[in-house]
Symmetry: C2
Amino acid sequence: MSAEKKINTHERSQHEQKKHAALPDINSSFSEWYHEVVFQAELADQAPVRGCIVIRPYGYALWEEIKKILDKKIKDTGHQNAQFPLLIPESFFKKEAEHIEGFAPELAIVTHAGGKKLEEPLVVRPTSETIIHYMFAQWIRSWRDLPLKINQWANVVRWEMRSRPFLRTTEFWWQEGHTAHETEKEALLEVQTMLLEYIDLVENYLAIPVVAGKKSESEKFAGADITMTFEGLMQDGKALQMGTSHMISQQFAHAFGIKYQDRNGGEAYPYLTSWGATTRLIGALIMTHGDQKGLIMPPRVAPIQIIIIPIFNKNMPSDQIEKAALAIQGTLGNEFRVTIDADTHTTPGSKFYKWELKGVPLRIEIGPRDIIQQSVVITNRLTGEKQTVTWQDLLEVIEKELQSIQTMLFERARARRARQWHKVAKLIDFADDLKNKGGFYQTGWCRSPICEAALKEYQATTRCLIEEKQFLHCFNCDLESPSDVMVAKSY
Amino acid sequence: MSAEKKINTHERSQHEQKKHAALPDINSSFSEWYHEVVFQAELADQAPVRGCIVIRPYGYALWEEIKKILDKKIKDTGHQNAQFPLLIPESFFKKEAEHIEGFAPELAIVTHAGGKKLEEPLVVRPTSETIIHYMFAQWIRSWRDLPLKINQWANVVRWEMRSRPFLRTTEFWWQEGHTAHETEKEALLEVQTMLLEYIDLVENYLAIPVVAGKKSESEKFAGADITMTFEGLMQDGKALQMGTSHMISQQFAHAFGIKYQDRNGGEAYPYLTSWGATTRLIGALIMTHGDQKGLIMPPRVAPIQIIIIPIFNKNMPSDQIEKAALAIQGTLGNEFRVTIDADTHTTPGSKFYKWELKGVPLRIEIGPRDIIQQSVVITNRLTGEKQTVTWQDLLEVIEKELQSIQTMLFERARARRARQWHKVAKLIDFADDLKNKGGFYQTGWCRSPICEAALKEYQATTRCLIEEKQFLHCFNCDLESPSDVMVAKSY
């Protein structure tokens, strides 16, 4: 784990402490709990524009940790980062019929610029297939130019009627990969490869177990032939789509004229993919791991892995205690992300409260008695367990504790999901539980949109097709089910 | 220097090679040379929206190297990254009179979204003072909340009538720092600190010598009390503003109601600063170091520091040669950014041409004879010098060569600037040279906007006030000059 040092002498001042009320009950008021924890832990703030948020430093530091890991994965799998324009001519969206149909209701449009009405309105990108495929058409001339594997880190805008911080916001931040390949097989492999990279990211770094599979026709991306999704189950029993990987329809290559000379000298169109993951991952992390005290950050992505709190009292000069805290930070700072909260205007108690709320995995207290004994007290955010550790053993214990929290968070989420993963043949037998308790319902489905629509009554949808066949027939009719489907309510 | 490995087996295919025409003459057609080198070296491409560009992977990799260095500097000086909304209510711009006056002609406006006309139009941010100060007003309540030191990496849009890739584009990418302080002194120190960080970045990493100083009243940022600038002198004798650091007018704190309780329990307004540097830095790098063959990348920011070119011939199987190239890359890859161009469809000659155009500082050739002698041939992009180096000495020689190129680029630019830095008392004596040859003209100035406006006739402006007093009187009238001023034509 990489190293970072910081001292916050007054990041949270006493007067701000007052604004922290106890969090709403996580079991009975999950939605209110979520909102409060986002704002009180200073991950984000409401922006003065409909549905938009400000990502505050603590939230953005978390996003930077996630980005660092995902960016490396993207580069290691042979993609290159680039930047495409924010503003896209409106006509580009009309070139692919399904795409415009899906996105039209969500578009934000620039009609005036430089003091004049524009001849053609410009769309603030909701996703960049159109502009990137337009450029691909300039760049791809020969089979030698393939594969072309591009990624972009960017902000996108989709007009949202009902927004929730991180989960659904008018502007959000993401990466969008766009690739072009000679063969369908190679493109399908790309779709699968990036899906697996995403799953590795969320399971092994964010500690969130997911179910992955293909979206149904009605749930797939506007313009995709195949949409692969990976979804987590939140504490309130709702599914959360955490990212998608698409096999893009050949219509795009034709619509944008991405023609090239193939190996035989003939004319061909490439197979296209796109895949993206967004700041919604932060919402998933909060809703998977949080508890009544606030956030719990998985150590591998925690912006601060260890918070050191010097315990000042009259038995020792403050600067001597602070010096010992700095020495501890020095010892740990090369391997871990460590911050000291040396504010002298706040009580240890309110510091404990604050850093628990922010979900820092480990807390180290060091006071006069600890200094005399050459030890510190370590508290585990997840279990609440305290232990006294000598300076000599510190590095080793910290390493173990962080790894244990990382593993326990994942295992806890997996066990919860197992309890909420139901296998039921008929909708009539799980409809009430689906509606009232939530959870994943694995069942059979004939693939008909009519049967799928029967789920609407319970505010549920098909989340993904899964590669198991435990049920022979549809949850709604008596027709055969080719393979199982996962049904849930969702964000 | 950090490590990165890549193999491009066909990044530039033969058919694309053909599209490379010789570059226009750098001396007689600098502007055309600039455009061609940007496109041919694949730093950027024209976008289908007025004044916008696409930053291609090679250009974006350069930007990522620059970002990495600057982001570290920003964090090391105690700032935290955050994200603020792209869309800003139009009314926010009207709260500060000078600010709206300066930016109104450049704004792009969203009038429709979600299929409806908006009640209040939204501005696509041209800079984020207004939205950030609005949030500062929520966050700053007590002197304990100060200083507040925030930075944002973002895209911004300013409608440009005459765009040039990287130098002036409708959308550009930048960081914008925004800070709030208790005292004017502290804010002034912040303005100066960030100016010095920028100068360190451009001089010691981009190898571009700059002149720094205060902008005149007419040239400063719309809404600033003081604008500090740092400017380089390009090869065609024009100055380029490379970034700015502002003391923001107290009007902003009042306009947005950023009130707080000071140390004495009274009501106070903070002192604000902002500072930014943009993708224009890439333009500065190209125009400072390029030559007739194309770009020259300063090693410390070069996306590829070393290109290895295996020389295939009949005396040895290709895979043996490629294996040796891979071994060399393995040796160097932990310390340097190294790529192999193993394309078997392109001649070594066209590879040399391509990587010279792209400005890779060092080229390593390895063929059958080199392998037998356990050596390679290294070519220096700046001097063109070739040397044979044994595998044993390779790491040491590469390290030295890269450092030498970094130093020579800076010294060469500094020497050129010294030749073009003229000290002349009266405009009448330098007007012709200013107009026809360009260059920096250090002179005296009474500070009157009327005398400043006399420069317009020669397409020149004051670039910055400098802390020297070699001239007692104004270049245009006979009034006293408080200190010298730098005059030049500029981008």
